[in-house]
Subunit: 127 residues, 2 copies
DNA sequence: ATATGTACCGTATGTCCTAATGGTACAACT
DNA sequence: AGTTGTACCATTAGGACATACGGTACATAT
């Protein structure tokens, strides 16, 4: 699996990693159970920070596209193929689009929406 | 109706105006049909910019707490009493709270929620 | 020892938004 | 002429945030 990152690109590096790994899964270039390079290894190869790679891996694991097994390394998730077609962000965007449309129709200012949004998001959790 | 503004306060000046005028309505200090000082007049009295007062008036009119009649001036709305108890912002906050709670339960990062939110809000309109 | 993922501290840069300011101008009316 | 609300141009200061970086440390395994 070849991974490249374009520093000049407008899309964040961690995002490029996520997309490329998902594509590799979808194109069958990697199979469930296949090992991925370690965070430090990949960061070293691509000449980027560990944290950036770790962030990409964290997101991929949340989406159940990869599986980290602690000291044993990281592997492609058994259901990777199915899970990487599920776009969580697209779903979030769709939901927000509907919600915000309702607000706007009610005459709520974008500024007010932003403020309310910030208030809610900055609450301890569970909100 | 006495209106004061605290420049030092953390709450924006336009917001202070909105709250004070709503309170004056609720406390019966002003009645429907009563005239409000003109935007320029109030801005001059409180030593603040026209735009800031205009912003407060605009929000108050959207909430049907006041009524602007163009060159004739601005007046307390007939249904001001009822309308100023309707808190549009509280409704927005409640809706957002529920929506965001759903996202979080699905494992969506706050950061991702913010990005999706910004994307949706920064679209031409109607979205 | 070496490697794994992970967690914490922090810094720097750039972007976006808010709030508030200033000036100019308009149509409509007194 | 003067006033009304409103619209456009603009700037300033401040905050919040994303991205990416650096260093250090941990338990767990080989």
């Amino acid at each position: 699996m070849e991974i490249t990152v374009d520093i000049e690109s407008a899309t964040p590096m961690f995002s490029q990693l996520v997309m490329q790994i998902k594509q590799a899964v979808q194109h069958g270039k990697v199979a469930p159970g296949d090992p991925l390079p370690s965070i430090r290894q990949l960061a070293n190869d691509l000449e980027m920070n560990n944290k950036t790679v770790a962030k990409a891996y964290r997101l991929l694991e949340r989406d159940s596209v990869i599986q980290t097994k602690g000291y044993r390394g990281t592997f492609i998730h058994p259901d990777a193929m199915a899970n990487c077609t599920v776009d969580l962000n697209a779903w979030v965007t769709k939901q927000l689009r509907e919600t915000i449309a309702t607000f706007r129709k009610a005459g709520v200012t974008d500024s007010e929406i932003r403020i309310a949004f910030a208030d809610v998001l900055n609450q301890p959790q569970g909100g």
